[in-house]
């Protein structure tokens, strides 16, 4: 919706604009990718954007395992949702960078950690390519159509607030990324037992039960934190966790933050109220260091 609202805003300024999502299986909370292409002339190119002028990151945790600046043009700008100043943002190479705590803004203005409207305010401030007024109108167009006049207005307010709070600077370079290996064998190379048991390949484990290579912990916005002393080890949270992210222990359970998507089911079902709900920043050190989306 952010890409759509940005395109709508650019359109309102008399440009041609396209917005489209990355094609693939999309799930709530899972890392996603969307594109907006803007030009003063008619746009004929319909492909994905491979060399963007601007990259907008709605979830800074992604930056630990996705090289977000990989395609960014020389002199391009990176806009990141982060409470940190740009000088604290580590990328593969130093780039022009602007940051804003869009999650904070969204929680304050909208009451939910949905940052796709707020971040557009930061985009307007950081790039100077579009007026804040147009962004607000674009948001009203797109978000308003879904959420009604009032909902649209609120999201536009979030963008305005984020605009005011955005700081610009340079990121620091030096982050190293391991090249991601893909396993795309010809059908003749497929091991016969692929559907039957886990098989080791050059890209890691594949087949039944191998999905644990996918660390879904990066999806969270809120995280459950356990007060060990209050836990009665009733295991009801362990029973319900759809992600198998509650681990049984001798005296109490614990949370496996590599996989916890932060749905909050465990917090709700915990009778002794031993689980507390906090924003992920507070459990940052427990985040998966190397997650694969």
């Amino acid at each position: 919706m952010a890409a759509q609202a940005l395109a709508a805003a650019a359109f309102r300024e008399g440009n041609h604009a396209l917005a489209f999502p990355f094609f693939g299986a999309e799930r709530r909370g899972a890392p996603v990718l969307a594109f907006a292409r803007v030009d003063s002339k008619k746009i004929r190119q319909r492909t994905q954007v491979y060399k963007p002028d601007y990259v907008v990151v709605l979830d800074d945790k992604l930056m630990g395992y996705v090289d977000v600046t990989a395609g960014l043009k020389e002199g391009g700008t990176l806009v990141v949702n982060s409470p940190l100043p740009p000088e604290k943002i580590v990328t593969e190479r130093p780039v022009k960078c602007a940051t804003v705590d869009a999650t904070g803004v969204a929680l304050e203005v909208l009451g939910v950690p949905v940052t796709n409207s707020a971040i557009l305010g930061a985009f307007a401030k950081a790039t100077g390519q579009i007026k804040l007024e147009s962004v607000e109108k674009g948001i009203m167009d797109i978000f308003g159509a879904r959420l009604g006049e009032k909902g649209g207005r609120k999201n536009a307010d979030a963008a305005r607030k984020a605009f005011e709070k955005t700081t610009a600077g340079m990121s620091v370079g030096g982050r190293k990324f391991k090249p991601v290996k893909k396993w795309l064998p010809d059908y003749k190379e497929l091991p016969l037992s692929l559907g039957l048991r886990v098989t080791m390949t050059e890209a890691g484990r594949v087949g039944p039960g191998s999905f644990d290579v996918n660390k879904t912990g990066s999806w969270r916005t809120f995280a459950p934190v356990l007060d060990d002393a209050k836990c009665t080890n009733c295991l009801i949270c362990w029973f319900y966790c759809p992600d198998g992210a509650v681990v049984r222990g001798e005296k109490h359970v614990s949370v496996n933050y590599d996989y916890c998507k932060g749905c909050g089911v465990c917090v709700e079902v915990c009778a002794p109220k031993a689980l507390k709900w906090v924003r992920t920043e507070e459990v940052e050190e427990k985040l998966p260091s190397e997650a694969i989306a």
């Binding site: 709530r28 899972a30 999905f211 879904t216 009733c234 029973f239 319900y240 198998g244 749905c263």
Partner: protein, 297 residues
């Protein structure tokens, strides 16, 4: 009877799958696989569960796994079972996990055929009450009044016009050894039914209410609570049809249906008349359930 604490620590449905946070279907799969264990083969039709549990080249089910098509779950599972029998591996549980669309609509003929032949399989319908994987379209298992993208809220109609199809009763009409409904909110009842399904021979059908945060437009943390309210309001009956005997496993509190409806965005447009219609439907459903208990003693 196995309690929550006695369930195996080991998961046969692993972490790392890509279901939405709070997915009721993922809870069903994980708990069911704990009961069925490693000596199981799983079949999936096209559905959310297929997509979130098996994204090439990874799979969350730690057991042999097959997917063929959307419409033929029951017959594919039956084929797997017959092949295993030929191989002398008749002790393997063959389980099909299918969505409500894949069961109540497009898969119904294959389901009916397999039930009529009393194929030796376990068929689990995880009922999230719409075609969620393709972006929330109505199914015949979508309840009355629910918004979906194909039952939009407009000036002529608001949400689904028809009431939910009663698939368990269709399965009862096949007189198979075991038909049951369950809700994730009642762990012991759910585990008991999974165990019964595992222990019995012949065609076994289990329909589990699997709340969907995305399609029901509700808080992901409230999924268990919703599954409980569905039962307590009488909207979802916990029943069993076992070797010809019909039992309602839990008498609901009959709390007002609003409690359940108002917690979900998909029902937010309902008028007081709509709500009354649902309340009346609950009443007539309960009367039918009581009558069935008398007929199938």
């Amino acid at each position: 009877m196995t309690t929550v604490k006695e369930l195996p620590v080991q998961d046969y449905f692993t972490s790392g799958h890509t279901a939405c946070p709070g997915c009721g279907g993922a809870m069903v799969a994980r708990i069911a696989m704990k009961v069925f264990g490693p000596n199981t083969v799983v079949y999936h039709p096209a559905s959310c569960m297929l997509i979130f549990s098996s994204t090439y080249p990874n799979n969350a089910f730690k057991v042999p796994f097959l997917h063929v098509l959307f419409e033929n779950s029951a017959v594919c599972a039956a084929g797997i079972k017959r092949a295993l029998n030929r191989l002398g591996k008749s002790d393997v549980n063959v389980v099909a996990f299918a969505g409500d669309g894949g069961t109540a609509d497009i898969g119904l003929q294959a389901l009916s055929g397999a039930a009529e032949r009393n194929e030796d399989i376990i068929y689990i319908m995880y009922d999230n009450e719409a075609y969620m994987n393709t972006g929330i379209q109505r199914s015949s298992s979508t309840p009355f009044g629910a918004w979906t993208t194909t039952t939009p809220v407009g000036s002529v109609h608001a949400g689904k016009v028809e009431f939910k199809k009663d698939v368990p009763r269709i399965m009862m009409a096949h007189d198979v050894p075991y038909v049951a409904t369950a809700s994730i909110a009642y762990p012991t009842d759910f585990i008991k039914k999974l165990e019964k399904a595992k222990a019995k021979k012949g065609f076994r059908y289990l329909q589990v209410l699997a709340p969907c945060p995305t399609g029901w437009k509700a808080e992901s943390s409230k999924m268990v609570e919703l599954a409980r309210m569905a039962v307590e309001t009488g909207i979802w009956t916990l029943m069993e049809y076992e070797d010809g005997k019909y039992t309602v496993n839990r008498t609901p509190k009959f709390s007002p249906v609003q409690d359940y409806l108002k917690a979900q965005g998909r029902f937010k447009h309902l008028t007081p008349e709509d709500i009354k219609k649902i309340q009346d439907w609950v009443k007539s459903k309960w009367e039918k359930d009581k009558a069935l208990e008398q007929v199938y003693k």
